[in-house]
């Protein structure tokens, strides 16, 4: 077995010691979007819909109740993201039962996963999910549909804004998994025909709360 030191010594020897490595960091420009991102909520909504998600702005409990009904789900699993608490008082009134999210099997058996977005990304319509905050990964992955609840004041313009401040947002270190989710699971592997829901959820709803 190769040890780290032997491995790196070989790489060093091959690169040569005279290579001018420099000390400063390379300037990295941020992507400049042609689209207007001045109103992140509007831009987020447009981009998320463009990716195939259904986006609703939620003002009242009735808005959220309508959205839950729209999903047609009977059984739901819920992450422990704080946003998901809003659905609790409404579930029984729309005839939904909640299964405890305590295993991937429970998530796989549910019709709908309900998860909170740690952030929204306006430029791409992405919802950022955080496995630590959510308490797990599979609730937003295994059911055929997923509902993300995203707070409007957590919608950032671009991923660059988030990635350049990860240290501030996560002073204790990064969560075990951080995923940008953009629309339903999709593939074009069969004759280049776009098909949704091949592995992950085929239907994605986003509630901006």
């Amino acid at each position: 077995m190769t040890t780290r030191d032997a491995f790196l010594a070989r790489v060093r020897a091959q690169l040569g010691t005279d290579a001018d490595v420099g000390t400063g960091s390379v300037a990295v420009p941020e992507p400049a979007y042609v689209r207007d991102l001045a109103d992140p909520v509007v831009a987020f909504t447009e981009a998320a819909q463009g990716s195939g998600a259904i986006v609703r702005r939620i003002v009242t409990d009735d808005d959220l109740r309508d959205l839950l009904e729209e999903t047609g789900a009977r059984t739901v699993v819920r992450t422990r993201d704080p946003e998901t608490a809003a659905v609790l008082p409404l579930l029984s009134s729309v005839g939904m039962g909640e299964a405890a999210f305590d295993s991937p099997g429970a998530a796989a058996a549910a019709d709908l996963g309900i998860a909170g977005g740690a952030w929204g990304i306006a430029a791409t319509g992405s919802v950022v999910i955080d496995a630590g905050r959510a308490g797990g990964r599979s609730a937003s992955l295994l059911p055929p549909g997923v509902l993300f609840l995203v707070a409007r004041d957590r919608i950032l313009t671009t991923a660059a804004v988030l990635f350049r401040r990860l240290g501030e947002h996560y002073p204790e270190g990064l969560p075990s998994q951080l995923v940008l989710v953009t629309g339903p699971s999709r593939t074009a592997d069969i004759e280049l025909v776009l098909t949704v829901g091949v592995h992950g959820p085929g239907r994605v709803w986003i509630a901006i709360v």
Partner: protein, 479 residues
């Protein structure tokens, strides 16, 4: 002239699926002829490569500073490679600080053995895999299967080619050479009964079948699009979600990465994330862009208990410090395949290796010592379309030329003298003109067709103009 037997399947050269075997026993010329005689393959290739190229164009237009980002991408990759030992050291320290394990593999054999060892120690019976070129390169599936571990590819296209006993033909669309009818036939064998040929039905079938395996698997194997040294994270992009499955559901996750697939900081990662999906498929971002930092934490419902990162050299360090170093800048987007006039005609299998297209024509001869590997550098017209498409501006045509120089046989002394004399003559205006006058006279008596060999086949000698030539007319002020 030698004739090749044309096999009426899309995989005339893929009987055993063993990459090394193909490059050892068949020539590029033979494989290309097989592909060129397959009308359906060529039609499919045209459709796929045109589609991806079109999408790439659209994707770039969502940004106003695409070319600036490409320049920065090249600068970042240059810097990372120049400082690779320190950055890899930083990566490994951070992975370990997060509770992960790091393994270093000098050879492909060693890399596969390391993964098999982890699988054995964890008592794994079933491994699920997401798409990874690095694991193809080290022939990991063969090693795992030899150790009695079942391996299932879970990217839809990869699963299809696995069922067909083939290897991927395109980095983004591995099964692009297969029709829906053929896929339905392959799935029918799994199901034990006939299945519908509709793409959505085929996808639904794959979802059910693979879902069961995701939940049962005890080992998840992924590649790494890029690792981020400053936090010890690995980053994977997928559209299907299988990348999230294999890294979230089994109790052990092993990620295999080529040692150059790393950046140091998150702003560098963000840059690569802006370049990669746009260059690959024109998407602003993939459906899932997944950063993992260590194994599952206390209180989390799922996620692997153990995380292993295998860092593979397998010939890469020998490329460092040479004129070919820039090939290690590649972020595997596939853009160069889609624009390459050679790839567009012959497809991925004709390259005979894991990597195809212009990047494969450079990388395969460098990583694979098989007898016929070096000739892959000939599979290019040197038009530079790959370089124009590359999101990190790798001058692939220069690298191909450099490889050809390495492999070129040393010419006999007399022949070298002739070429040198020609170069000398045409470096002087007076001598050049004299030689052109001589050539004009000579070409009236030399036949248009040259003595037949591989190079002159399809080429003819230029004929002299019937009237005065360019220089004469220029001197007479006629232009």
């Amino acid at each position: 002239m030698h004739r090749v037997r044309v096999v009426r399947r899309t995989s005339p050269i893929r009987d055993d699926g063993d990459v090394q075997e193909v490059l050892a026993t068949t020539t590029l010329r033979r494989r290309a002829r097989g592909a060129l005689s397959d009308e359906r393959l060529r039609r499919t290739l045209r459709r796929a490569t045109d589609r991806f190229s079109l999408l790439r164009g659209v994707g770039q237009q969502t940004l106003s500073n695409w070319d600036e980002l490409r320049d920065a991408g090249r600068a970042v990759r240059t810097r990372v490679l120049a400082d690779l030992p320190r950055i890899l050291e930083r990566l490994s320290e951070n992975v370990e600080a997060n509770g992960g394990h790091v393994h270093w593999a000098t050879t492909a054999q060693e890399a596969s053995s390391l993964v098999v060892e982890v699988a054995r120690r964890r008592g794994a019976r079933l491994a699920v895999k997401s798409k990874s070129m690095a694991t193809e390169e080290i022939a990991l599936n063969d090693h795992l299967e030899a150790a009695g571990i079942e391996v299932v590819e879970t990217d839809l296209g990869e699963w299809i080619v696995q069922l067909a006993g083939e290897t991927p033909s395109h980095i983004l669309a591995p099964a692009v050479h297969r029709s829906r009818e053929e896929i339905a036939e392959l799935f029918g064998r799994v199901a034990g009964h006939a299945v519908s040929e509709l793409p959505e039905d085929l996808c639904a079938f794959a979802r059910r079948e693979l879902r069961e395996r995701f939940l049962r698997a005890d080992l998840g194997i992924s590649g790494v699009n890029l690792a981020v040294a400053e936090t010890g994270s690995i980053f994977i992009v997928t559209n299907e979600g299988n990348g999230r499955m294999v890294t979230s559901l089994p109790r052990t996750h092993v990620a295999v990465m080529g040692m150059e697939r790393v950046v140091e900081t998150w702003d560098q990662l963000e840059l690569m994330l802006a370049l990669l999906p746009r260059a690959a498929s024109g998407q602003d971002i993939t459906v899932y862009a997944n950063a993992m930092t260590g194994p599952r934490r206390a209180g989390e419902v799922d996620g692997p208990d153990e995380f292993h990162l295998v860092i593979v050299d397998n010939g890469r360090s020998e490329i460092l410090g040479t004129e070919l170093q820039e090939i290690l800048h590649c972020i595997r987007c596939g853009a160069c395949l889609n624009v390459c006039p050679v790839y567009r005609q012959i497809g991925g299998h004709a390259y005979g290796g894991v990597y195809s297209g212009p990047v494969g024509a450079v990388l395969t001869p460098l990583l694979d010592r098989a007898p016929h590997a070096p000739e892959l550098a000939q599979a290019s017209s040197l038009c530079g379309a790959c370089w124009e498409a590359c999101p990190v501006r790798i001058p692939l045509h220069d690298l191909l030329l450099a490889l050809r120089r390495r492999e070129a046989p040393s010419l006999p002394r007399a022949q070298r003298a002739v070429w040198r004399a020609w170069a000398e003559t045409w470096s002087r205006p007076a001598a050049y003109r004299a030689s052109v006058r001589t050539a004009r006279t000579a070409s009236r008596i030399v036949p248009e067709r040259m003595a037949p060999d591989a190079w002159t086949d399809g080429r003819s000698l230029p004929r002299p103009p019937s009237g005065p030539g360019f220089r004469e007319r220029f001197d007479r002020d006629e232009l």
